[in-house]
Symmetry: C2
Subunit: 468 residues, 2 copies
């Protein structure tokens, strides 16, 4: 377990961690700069940190925090007077800025995804992942590999050449296999929120089957993020005309694992000390802002390391869990502090994903075929999980069915594919339909398989309404 | 008091209220469409309402709310298939969107201002405004008129012709007097947060002087919003080459008063019933989202009525106070629910205001002159308030000094001036400096005037740290 590492090992890992970023920082590579979230995160990090820092300073001098924020802003904006190279904030100072509301909604949705994965991380714990043991691990690994292969196959069957829309933005030799790779990776993630809800409604949340599924889902999140990191990097390289060797793929997997592991080890070391310091600050909202800053910072660093920003947000959530705050201020629950922000931003993401589905694209029967094929691949792929579960007298069929829903993580992957311009409109629409169908079929199917076992006649037909 | 109106009068006022908007809706006038916040608010209202509505429906059908949000989005995005005129969401569906992080930060700051004024409204109550009585009213009225006249004069002294930057966007006959008008209105608002803090630190918050100042500040907010509404409309008209008659100005004042009054009367009638309905919903975050929706909706309607969006946000806050939630769900305090969102978004506004100050513009001595002149006008103008206060044995000087700080409302007015393109870069910078200086000088000055009275030797030098 991470917390029992000796302090010598700590230092070693801590030293390795920043080294990961140096090549990317110097190379200033295309993948980072193409991602519009990276500069947004950087700007938010600098702005919010300045606001809190200067606000705190002014409070201590018995002046209002708001004045500190203002003066801090003046300093940031006028850094360029000291050095013309410090021009990062110039776009904010133009007298005429082309403001389009759609860009702002899009940005809010992107921040919503980061907050969402931060919350997912907050709800997961490293300890929890270790505890569920080998059964969950096998289920998770099989549940990532099988759908990936099937998804690749379906994409290969239906998409025989690079669509014109995509080809326009790619170099001449861009292979259609990159598209298959991405579609396959979209199918990896499991979203078991809905499954957990069905188990809960049936009063079966504490059965071994439920525990295996919930554990596997957390591991799936991590494995899915690694698959995404690798596939995205391969595609980013292909976009600038490079192909990636097998050796590089291992290097990418190593970066992803080291990033997650490094963030967690360094974080476990740094976070409690940081919290102790922050607890001394006077200005309002310190805990909330510092958590947000951590999520944004790790997302940004993940981008620099060539990973998706959500990997960093997830790591930030894992790090904060709920523990560290309680140690310093009993009354603060980080989950409750973040909730209003996610209530505001996360629905923007989901509605936007729906808005971007072009129903007219299903007039093309092949798109309908992709949707059906992907849905079948998603369902069948996860049935393989049933055989991954170890242990006697398990309701294997329920485990397979419970792993079917794709939900938010599949959508996030698809939206990243859109950003990378490797997923075109029709394929995006097909993926959304797959997400909807897999999520819709699970509850009735699960009720059938669970009652088939005859162990659970006591259905709670009534909604428990816990989430309200 | 509003709540004692007979129900017949209710219906009359309720019927008058929507009528205000009809001409503007049909005319689809320039002022509304120029404001980039209007379509952003409309999009957020539709998206969040759809998310909650569809989410609730799905929850009731025992399906995950998130799926409802997705399906709701599909419906919104594909409305265009039913009627090509329903194309509002098309900009969100473009495969390639030009995403610039600066636009997103700017949008977040604008939303931050709306949330900020919503909070100011939540902290004010109609009852409270009525109670402080005539003394506060006189102080407030004098404190709006005197700085307006002085500010107009300073602007007239330093800005003799329309700056090139501004002239480029205006019709040929655009008079420099419009700029003076706007600069004057920026000086109207009082931001007594800092004054309240000093009184609190000195243990004098319950003196008559403090109560008069706090009451006057709330009335100032309302008067300032009305002045802003009138001046903005005059300038919007001038921008399309129209000049406004005195009769129209009275119409504008009437619209502003009717909007605030109408929103408050209709709202007091509708809100409790709405809350009773909403309290029955199952999905999470209902209370938070419906409050945000109300703030966004009234901001949007204010825009349609030709007023600044913040007028609507303030009205929404006044309407919700804290009362209505407590009636239905004891555990929900709307102020606490909104706080994390304002902690996240409001600092973005203040830092952005600082970033937009071009220090190099002070190399031009005339800009330094404007800054000094505006600061003097701001300080002297509020001293007139001292004579507005009625009552014996009042520490009039402390009242005058306590009204000096301009703070956030002055900044918000200045940023609206930037949006209207009537405030150019140098003037904006001068206004920010005025805000900073007036806020900085108040605490030491106030300590002097208060101790001069000899009534308060017991200074609490130590920060009470209440806000943490």
């Amino acid at each position: 377990m991470i917390r029992t590492l000796s302090s010598r090992k700590w230092i070693l890992v801590a030293a390795l961690f920043p080294a990961l970023f140096i090549p990317n920082l110097l190379a200033s590579d295309a993948a980072v700069h193409e991602d519009p979230v990276a500069p947004l995160l950087l700007a938010l990090i600098v702005i919010l940190a300045t606001a809190k820092g200067a606000g705190e300073l002014f409070e201590r001098l018995h002046m209002p925090a708001v004045l500190g924020e203002l003066v801090g802003g003046i300093v940031l904006g006028n850094l360029i007077l000291l050095n013309p190279a410090w021009s990062f904030f110039e776009p904010l100072r133009a007298q005429v800025m082309e403001i389009h509301w759609a860009v702002i909604i899009d940005g809010m949705a992107r921040l919503g995804v980061i907050i969402l994965l931060f919350e997912v991380g907050l709800e997961s714990t490293v300890k929890g992942m270790m505890k569920v043991g080998t059964s969950s691990l096998f289920v998770a690994v099989v549940g990532v590999i099988a759908p990936f292969i099937l998804g690749y196959g379906v994409s290969w069957m239906f998409i025989r050449e690079v669509p014109v829309q995509i080809a326009a933005g790619m170099p001449a030799g861009f292979s259609v296999h990159y598209i298959h790779l991405f579609v396959g990776s979209v199918l990896c993630a499991t979203s078991v929120g809905i499954t957990a809800r069905v188990f809960q409604d049936l009063g079966r949340l504490h059965t071994r089957e439920a525990q295996i599924i919930l554990g596997a889902a957390v591991i799936d999140d991590v494995l899915g993020l690694i698959v995404l990191a690798v596939v995205s990097s391969v595609i980013s390289a292909a976009k600038v005309g490079q192909s990636i060797q097998v050796g590089s793929i291992f290097r990418l997997i190593a970066v992803a694992v080291l990033f997650l592991g490094g963030a967690l080890t360094v974080g476990t070391f740094v976070i409690p000390r940081m919290m102790k310091l922050l607890a001394k600050l006077r200005t309002a909202g310190v805990m909330l802002l510092s958590s947000l800053l951590l999520a944004f910072l790790l997302s940004y660093l993940a981008g620099l390391a060539g990973l998706a920003g959500i990997v960093g947000a997830f790591a930030a959530g894992l790090l904060l869990e709920r523990v560290h705050f309680r140690e310093f201020r009993e009354d603060i629950d980080i989950f409750r502090l973040i909730k209003p922000i996610s209530t505001f931003l996360v629905p923007v993401f989901f509605v936007l994903m729906g808005i971007q589905v072009h129903l007219e694209s299903f007039a093309d029967l092949s798109v309908l075929g992709i949707a059906a094929g992907l849905t079948a691949a998603a369902v069948i792929g996860k049935q393989a999980c049933a055989w991954g579960a170890t242990g006697k007298a398990l309701d294997r069929m329920s485990i397979g069915v419970g792993m079917i829903p794709r939900g938010e993580v599949g959508l996030i992957f698809a939206s990243i594919g859109r950003s990378l311009k490797v997923v075109d409109g029709p394929t995006f629409s097909a993926i959304v339909i797959m997400v909807i169908v897999t999520t819709l079929v699970t509850p009735p199917l699960l009720k059938v398989t669970l009652s088939r076992g005859g162990k659970g006649a006591e259905r709670l037909g009534v909604d428990s309404g816990i989430e309200k």
